[in-house]
Amino acid sequence: MKQKMWKWASLLPLSLLLLLSGCSENMLVLQPKGPVAKTQYDLIMWSIGFMLLIIVVVFVLFTVVLVRYREKPGRDNYEPPEEEGNTLLEIVWTAIPILIVTALAVPTVKATFALEKPSQKSVKPLTIHVTAANWKWIFSYPEQNIETVNYVNIPEDVPVKFKLTSVGPMSSFWVPQLGGQKYAMDGMETELFLEADEPGSYMGRNANFTGKDFTHMEFEVVAQTKDDFNKWVKEVQQTAPKLSKGKYETILKPGLVGRMTFSNTHLEWIDHAKQNSHHMGKTEEHSENTKHHEGMDMEHHSH
């Protein structure tokens, strides 16, 4: 029984290695394809090192103690000593974790501040407005005056400033290989800088639960060379249909839609990032009807 116990314990780090090698080609987070994801990758790797060290230390101590001090024939009469503690030891195992935490905190803070800004200063970032709606992603390129749904093309080596907002539940914009996520919320705007090092197709998802078809709320990020990107923009501007208010309303309706491309943006008439920007009418109408009645009710219940 006791042997089994520590054998099992030592199996854990082993299986970790096994799994790591076996599945690594799928581990998107560990395959950064841009400076943002790379920063995070470095931080993750740095921390994993320390964590493995801690795990090893604890597991070794644990195993040694269990093997040596387990009750076994011949130790039946052993009476453990009374010990209250050991100040020196306790200082050691307070101090070392403090050092480790410091070693983790410094790069964390650095990286956290760094990720608020574009990864390079020399290149002007491309701005893309991202609107999350149930259950699709809408991308607007204000400078290029084009709009896409459920996919987004970006040029390589150019920082992209995603301005995130939502028409509905809080969503989270996540492209694991390009960098960590950020929430897109109704009536406000958050900013996320991402950048791709090399052309390719990267999976993007909504990471924050938004109800029925949340699972399918995926998009593709296509990183292209600058030339390809510019070519694509021109093509869209010339060939894609115009987005009308009516069409836009149908896109916003809850449900799944395929990919779409338009040669103008909905920002012309509405920016959901503004507080109280949308279906104001509807909400107001609703509260208009019930206002007085339930207002009075309220008084009864809370007093």
Binding site: N276, E284, S287, K291, G295, S302
Partner: protein, 204 residues
């Protein structure tokens, strides 16, 4: 801890005479600690939301200092008279205790009357709890305080009845003391409402 020496200590005020009373009073203090956390959350909500007025009125549109001052003075005074009630109780004067409790009750009722009038006034100006985030948080914060005061009035009434029935006993004394703690506490909460809701709302 069972320090039996204190059990029948005659120098101790009546409300501390029994073990049970001492436990209840301490428990009530702890409960007040929880109430602080509760009101703090309501204040946090209010302070985050009070400038988010949507299309509704703002603090400056709504608040009037005169009403607020009347409410404040009523409640401050009631806290004082409630203190006097306990003072009289500790001198074993039942009549004094009852009189001051009654005065406290009346002042509290006056406060509630003014508050309800204030609320009705707002509602008639179209500022209801559904109008905006600001108003929702305003009504809920101030309303929760008002609900507490109303509860206190009901509770104090019950205690007055018990005092009339049973006179001074360790149990009634303890109840008076606890309700007085509650009442003073509500005064403290009001001071923060006065400061953080009304004064702040009028200067910002």
């Amino acid at each position: 801890m069972a320090d039996t020496a204190h059990h029948y200590d005659e120098t101790m005020p009546l409300e501390y005479r029994t073990e049970e009373s001492r436990l209840n009073i301490l428990g009530f203090w702890i409960f007040l600690g929880a109430e602080v956390a509760l009101f703090a959350t309501l204040f946090a909500t209010y302070l985050v939301l009070f400038q988010r007025t949507g299309h509704g009125p703002t603090t400056a549109d709504l608040f009037e200092i005169k009403d607020v001052m009347i409410e404040t003075l009523l409640l401050l005074t009631s806290s004082f008279t409630c203190g006097l009630a306990v003072f009289e109780m500790r001198r074993r004067r039942l009549t004094g205790l009852l009189v001051w409790l009654l005065v406290t009750l009346l002042l509290g009722a006056g406060f509630i009357t003014f508050e309800v009038r204030e609320f009705i006034h707002y509602v008639h100006e179209g500022a209801t709890i559904q109008t905006s985030a600001f108003l929702s948080s305003f009504f809920v914060l101030v309303g929760t305080h008002g609900a507490h005061v109303s509860l206190g009035i009901g509770w104090m009434t019950l205690i007055i009845i018990q005092l009339l029935q049973r006179g001074f006993t360790p149990r009634t004394a303890r109840k008076v003391f606890i309700v007085s703690l509650y009442w003073h506490f509500l005064d403290v909460v009001w001071i923060f409402i006065f400061t953080l809701v009304y004064l702040t709302g009028m200067v910002m």
